[in-house]
Each structure stands twice: as C-alpha cells, then as structure tokens.
C-alpha cells in the first residue's frame, strides 16, 4: 500500500503545473462561468489545444485526445482546480466526445471531433424534460422518421448554457411502443435549425445558466443519428458514467476552503479573527476532515481504476459527499461574511461595480444559492442513494 504517486506521475504533475502557470490567462482566473462570454469560456481550452494538444483529457490519442491514464487525468483536474482555471467545457469535451469516439460513425468523428477541440462548435445536452427529472427514461420528445430526416417535437429543460450552443446532443423517443428504456435514440441537432427555440431560465441567484429548449417540427438529417436507432439509452448511460467521474471536486473544494480561511482571517468577532473562534474553527475542521476522507476515497477508486477495475456504483459516494462538501463550503463562506451575506449582486453591469463590503464578500450569497443545484443535478443525491442501495448493498 502506498498513497504516493509514481515518479513518472510526479514529473507529469510538474509539467502540468508549469504549463498552467505559464499559459493560463490571469484575467480569467476564478471568473464566474455565467458572467463570461463564450470566447472567455473557450479561451483556456483553445490554449491547451494549440500549445499542447491537451484539450481533451479523456479522448483517445487517435482522435486528438491526450490518451492519459486515470491518474494523469486526475492530476490534470487537480492542477487546474488548484490554479482556478476555467473548467473544461463539459458538454463537448467530457460528454459527447467520448460517445462519438466510441459509437459515432467515421463521418461524424471526422466532422465533429476536431470542431469540438477547437471550440468552433459549442455543444449543449438535451436530456432532461419537464415531466422527467431523475426519471430520465420517461422522456417524451418524439422523433419520427420521414425520408432522410427525423421530425423532432418536444421540450427539453435545464439545458446548461444553451444560449451559447451551436449543437445539441439529444435523447429522443423513436419507438413509442417500446418499453421505457428501449426506443430511445441519440440525435445531434443543429441549434440553427428552424423550430429550435431557446428560453432562458433565471435561477434564484439571478444567473442565466440554464434554459428550456423547445423543438417544434425540427428537421434533423438521419446522418445525425449516433449509433443505432432505438439504442440511445446505451450511449446515454455510457455518457452519464463519464459525467460522474470528477464530480467529487476535491481540488476545487480544497481551493475554496483555502479562500474561506483567508476570509475568516480577515473577519473578526469582538476583535478575534473569526478563523480562530472555537465555533467557526470547529466547523471548518469538520469540513476539512470530510474532504480528507473524500479525497482518500477518490484515490482508492482511482487506484482500483488504474488496475482495471472500473469505477463502480461506489462512485455515487463521490457524488453525494462531493456535492455536500461543495455546498457546505459556500454555506460557511456565507456565515463568514456576516451582514454582507445579505448583499445580492445581480449579473450585469452592477456585478462589475466595487463590492458593497470587503472585496472577498462579493458573490458569496450567490454561490451559496447556486450550489443548491449540485445535490439535484447529475442524478439527485436521493437517486444516488437508491443506486447504492440496489447496486452495492443489494437491498
């Protein structure tokens, strides 16, 4: 047993660390995703792609990916989180890319993969529907084959950053007679097709992060079907498996705690730094221990994966604990800033004005609100518990 990285991995870490330090544009550090322009959001990916061919950590080398090992991917994520870089575009790189690599036909690979790498295409995900939250297989969007096209009608929701998207990968029902999880297909839809309408959903933190997408008689060429008709559920499950890896967010939480400590050093309670008050320091210690435990659990999963045992349903633990920690950090930050936790900074011009209180208080309340989503999305934490109950405990 050994929890240290190999020398080769340590050398790789140093390389990554140096690359980030030399190349990540400092003005983009720790920017909120939904106050950034599309180009801002893609800048880091483009730099990685152009300078190193490092845009797609989880693609095979033959398609322009890095071909990294599980440990290397882990190190890449850690170092990026530590440095506060712009997160990898999840939908194109992390989700669709691997699906196309595994199940796309040659034309699809040739056309789409390079455009994902360069950021020419921005992708969004058309999974959720108003009637089907965690019950994904209950989706109702219909695609009817007419000659060379599918005619798609339906209503997608919670579509993250669809306002930037050129394309959407989408689950549609192609066989309404089939049992729930059969009869679903995986379609690629050009967002400029007539009949596609994007409606913003403003969340309680004031952000425009998610959308509804209405599909009304949208004509989708049959060559945009991925894999086999009615087999979409297979690809969707494959994709969800990818989505879950990295969800623990250990390095990002570690970084958030570091900032929280800086805040709590500056805030004072009757002259004593908040950080040193027994109440706060106790809560902080409990949180850090929770994070230590999660980190070790993730390393254990990673080590198992490196030895060829894939991340099983145990990875639901990473989702549950990871999101609870992310939420808790923002909650303690809100506690730390005292009265200034009441300040609401709506997106837009006001967000650029000087902070109402000390600089570190900016956006703290919004982050607390925003993080509530994490225990809901990506399969709610209740669903994750159901998965563990069934798949791990066999109940």
């Amino acid at each position: 047993m050994d929890m240290r990285f190999s020398d080769a991995d340590l050398a790789f870490r140093d390389e990554v660390r140096a690359f980030i330090a030399d190349n990540f544009p400092p003005e983009l550090k720790d920017r909120s995703l939904y106050s950034m322009t599309r180009d801002d959001l893609l800048a880091w990916q483009r730099i990685c792609h152009e300078k190193k061919g490092w845009a797609a950590p989880n693609w095979p080398k033959e398609y322009g990916g890095t071909g990294w090992s599980a440990v290397q991917k882990y190190i890449w994520n850690e170092e990026n989180a530590r440095a506060g870089t712009t997160p990898t575009n999840a939908f194109g790189i992390l989700m669709l890319g691997p699906v196309l690599c595994a199940f796309g036909n040659e034309q699809q690979k040739e056309y789409f993969l390079p455009r994902i790498l360069t950021g020419e295409h921005w992708w969004c995900q058309g999974y959720s529907e108003p009637g089907a939250g965690s019950d994904l297989a209950g989706l109702k969007t219909r695609a009817v084959r007419e000659g060379d096209h599918y005619i798609v009608n339906g209503h997608k929701i919670w579509t993250t950053l669809a306002q930037h998207a050129d394309w959407m990968f989408c689950l549609v029902r192609t066989d309404p007679e089939a049992k729930k999880q059969r009869g679903i297909s995986f379609l690629l839809i050009d967002m400029t097709t007539p009949g596609v309408t994007v409606r913003p959903i403003i969340t309680m933190d004031g952000a425009h992060e998610v959308n509804e997408v209405f599909l009304e008689n949208v004509k989708v060429p049959v060559e945009n079907l991925v894999g086999q008709e009615n087999d979409g559920w297979t690809y969707a499950k494959f994709l969800l498996g990818n989505e879950r890896s990295g969800i623990a967010g250990v390095a990002r939480s570690r970084e958030a705690i570091r900032k929280l400590k800086l805040m709590a050093e500056q805030e004072s309670v009757d002259g004593e730094p908040l950080l040193e008050t027994p109440g706060f320091s106790r809560k902080l210690a409990e949180l850090e221990i929770k994070l230590d435990a999660l980190e070790m659990t993730e390393l254990r999963t990673l080590a198992a994966e490196s030895q060829g045992r894939g991340p099983g349903p145990e990875s639901s633990i990473l989702k549950i604990e990871g999101t609870e920690i992310q939420q808790r950090v923002t909650e303690l930050a809100l506690e730390a800033v005292g009265h200034y936790g009441l300040v609401f900074t709506p997106p837009g011009p006001e967000a650029e004005a000087p902070a109402i209180g000390p600089d570190y208080t900016r956006g703290v309340a919004q982050r607390y609100m925003n993080m509530r989503k994490t225990s809901i999305y990506g399969g709610s934490n209740e669903i994750q518990r159901n998965i563990i109950a069934k798949m791990v405990l066999g109940l």
Partner: protein, 376 residues
C-alpha cells in the same frame, strides 16, 4: 396558560390575511422587487389606513395598544407573503425605540408620521467591523453647537433606500465594544454628510451602506440619555429578533405547504413522489422543525417583557432554533422540488432566500448560541 388568540387578535390576523391575499400574489411581488423602487408606497399607505402601522403603539400615542403577540401575528403573515415593505424597520424597530425611550416631544413629532404611513425609518446599528455586536461601534458622536456631530460608517442598513429618517447608534464615550458610551440619534436621511450606497438584498429588499461625514444634529435628536443607548438598542434588537422569528415561521409554514402540494402532484416512476417513504420522513422532519420554531417564536414574544437575562435567553434560544429550522426547511424544500426549486420563477427559491437572510439578521446561530450559553 393559554395559547389561543383573543377575539381582537383573531380579527387582526384575519384582516391582514385578507388584505395580503388580495394584494400580494407571487407575480405582483415579483414585479415589485424587480422595479426601480423595489417596494409599493401605495400599499404602505393602505396598511396605514388599515391600522396595521399603529399596532404596537399605546392608544394614547395614536396606536391600537398591541403588544408582542400582535407583532408576532402580523409578522407571521408578512412572512407567509414575503412582504418587502419596511414594517419591521419603521414600526417595530424605529417605532419601538421611540415608543419605549423617546421623549414626549419626539413621540409627538414622529409617531404620527409612522402610524400614518407618511414617514419611513431605518435603524443604522451595525458596522462593517462589528459583526453582530451592537456595542462594537466605531461611529463617533461629539458634542458640537449644542448638538452633536456624527461620523462613521454603517453596514447593510435595511430599508434605508426607502427611508426619510434614520436612527443611528454612535459612540459618544468609551472604548469600542464597551457597554457604556453608546448613544442613539435621529438623523434626517437628507441631512448634509449622509451618504448612502443603495443595493439589493438576497430576499428582494433594499439596503444601504451609509457613510456619515460631519453630520450635525440638534440636541433633540438624542433618544434617551447620552451614553445610555446600548440597553435601549439591545432591547429593541431583541424585539426585532422576536418579530423576524415569526416572519420565518410564516415562511416555513408556506414552504411546507408548497412542498406538500408539489410532492403530491409531481409524479416520477409513475407515482406521486410524496409516496416515497424517504421523502415522507423528510417532510415530517420539516414539519417538526417548523413546529419547534413556532414554539420558540411564541416563547420569544411572550418573554419580551421579562427581565433582561430571561428575555435574552429566550430570544437567543429562539434565534438559534429558528436559524436551524430555517436552514433545514429551506434546503430540504429546494431539494424536494428538484430543478424547479432553484429557479427564480417559483416562490420556493424566494422563501429560501428570505429564510437565508433572516438566519443572519440580528446575529447568526453562533452569535446567539454564545449569548444563550452566557445566560445559562
């Protein structure tokens, strides 16, 4: 021992309920909080006409002789509808200080304006460095020209953007955090040297950071005795704390109803999600948390007139309980609503934000836990 309402109290509650039911639906509130001004002065005037702004004042001063229970009833309903208008700041806080400690002349000069809905007040007690300790005051008041000159910075003064009058706490003597030496002054918001930076609060209200630079006030601006303002301030803050505890109870009850409504309607896997035992038990825990909060809010109201230590302990205990219950109920309500729970388009997110705000007004859990332990 009797926790039922008197006939007058029942009438009061009914009247505010029907008043709000007709005027405070979600959409109306939504457009109000997103408007330029952020509140409805015309509604405020209607509240005055209905006599609501007169509730906690003695008849002799033009009031209707209500006490903490009446305030509790009103605040619970205001909580239920997430009323943004500055009842707490103007009537409970500023009005309460004037009622309890104002001179006859001050009462005559100012209470009619409050009761009549003509004047809006805000209380500037907190400071950037002071967190929740009302004695941690760096703002100074020095004698000058027979009156006083004030200078300093006041943090997150709620309702100040709507106010024409402020009550400002300042140190006229003593060291930072010392009990003695705090004084309270009435300050015209339009006075020279008063500078407000206005902003929105997370619960859809408005507040200001206020800078005071050589603000001259007359001798009539002083409330109570010089240097003896802290006990008045503390007593008032306790009353305000009891009031927002009731506000929180209103929010929680509404959230529980919304959650029940949603979970019994919303179907997944072919059945209403309320049929899942896990969600049932969590709704039970939300219910229990709300009942315990209700109990403590009642206790807070009924102990406001007890002697200092007993009052402080009841208030501190109530604020801790409300903070814990509010946190649990608001987070669970959002979670059980799933995606729609985090949108700005549903009342759930707004209650979440309101409860989040209440949990830290007048001191958070840690502050009041320490206060509670001190009085034990």
């Amino acid at each position: 021992m009797d926790f039922s309402l008197s006939e007058e109290q029942t009438l009061l509650r009914n009247s505010v309920q029907s008043f709000l039911a007709g005027r405070y639906d979600f959409d109306t509130r939504y457009s109000t909080i997103n408007s330029e001004t952020g509140w409805r002065p015309e509604l405020w005037r209607e509240m005055a006409e209905l006599g609501l702004l007169a509730a906690p004042f003695p008849e002799a001063l033009g009031g209707i002789d209500g006490g903490p229970v009446e305030t509790m009833l009103l605040m619970e309903e205001f909580g239920r509808y997430m009323v943004v208008e500055p009842y707490l700041e103007t009537v409970v806080m500023a009005g309460g200080l004037l009622r309890d400690a104002g001179s006859e002349a001050q009462q005559e000069a100012h209470l009619p304006g409050i009761i009549g809905g003509d004047s809006v007040w805000a209380v500037a007690w907190a400071e950037p460095q002071g967190r929740y300790n009302p004695a941690d005051i760096a703002t100074t008041a020095s004698a000058s020209d027979g009156g006083y000159v004030l200078g300093g910075k006041k943090a997150v003064v709620e309702a100040a953007p709507w106010a024409d009058k402020l009550i400002v706490s300042a140190r006229s003597d003593g060291r930072r955090r010392e009990s003695k030496g705090v004084s309270l002054f009435i300050v015209d918001k339009a006075a020279e040297g008063v500078n407000c930076r206005d902003f929105r609060t997370i619960d859809g209200r408005r507040a200001s950071e206020i800078t005071l630079k050589d603000v001259q006030v007359g001798p009539e601006a002083l409330i109570g005795e010089l240097n003896a303002g802290l006990p008045l301030l503390q007593r008032m803050l306790d009353e305000a704390t009891a009031a927002i505890c009731a506000d929180a109870v209103g929010c929680m009850k509404a959230l529980n109803e919304a959650t029940k409504e949603y979970t019994t309607t919303r179907k997944q896997f072919g059945v209403p999600i309320a049929s899942f035992q896990v969600l049932q038990h969590r709704m039970v825990d939300m219910f229990i948390a709300t009942e315990q909060a209700t109990s403590m809010a009642i206790k807070a109201a009924l102990k406001l007139d007890a002697e200092d230590a007993e009052r402080e302990r009841a208030i501190a205990g109530a604020k801790v309980q409300i903070g814990q219950s509010a946190r649990y109920v608001s987070q669970e309500a959002v979670q059980l609503h799933g995606g729609v729970g985090v949108t700005d388009e549903l009342n759930v997110g707004h209650y979440f934000k309101r409860l989040t705000a209440i949990a830290r007004r007048f001191g958070d859990e840690d502050y009041h836990l320490r206060r509670y332990a001190r009085t034990g």
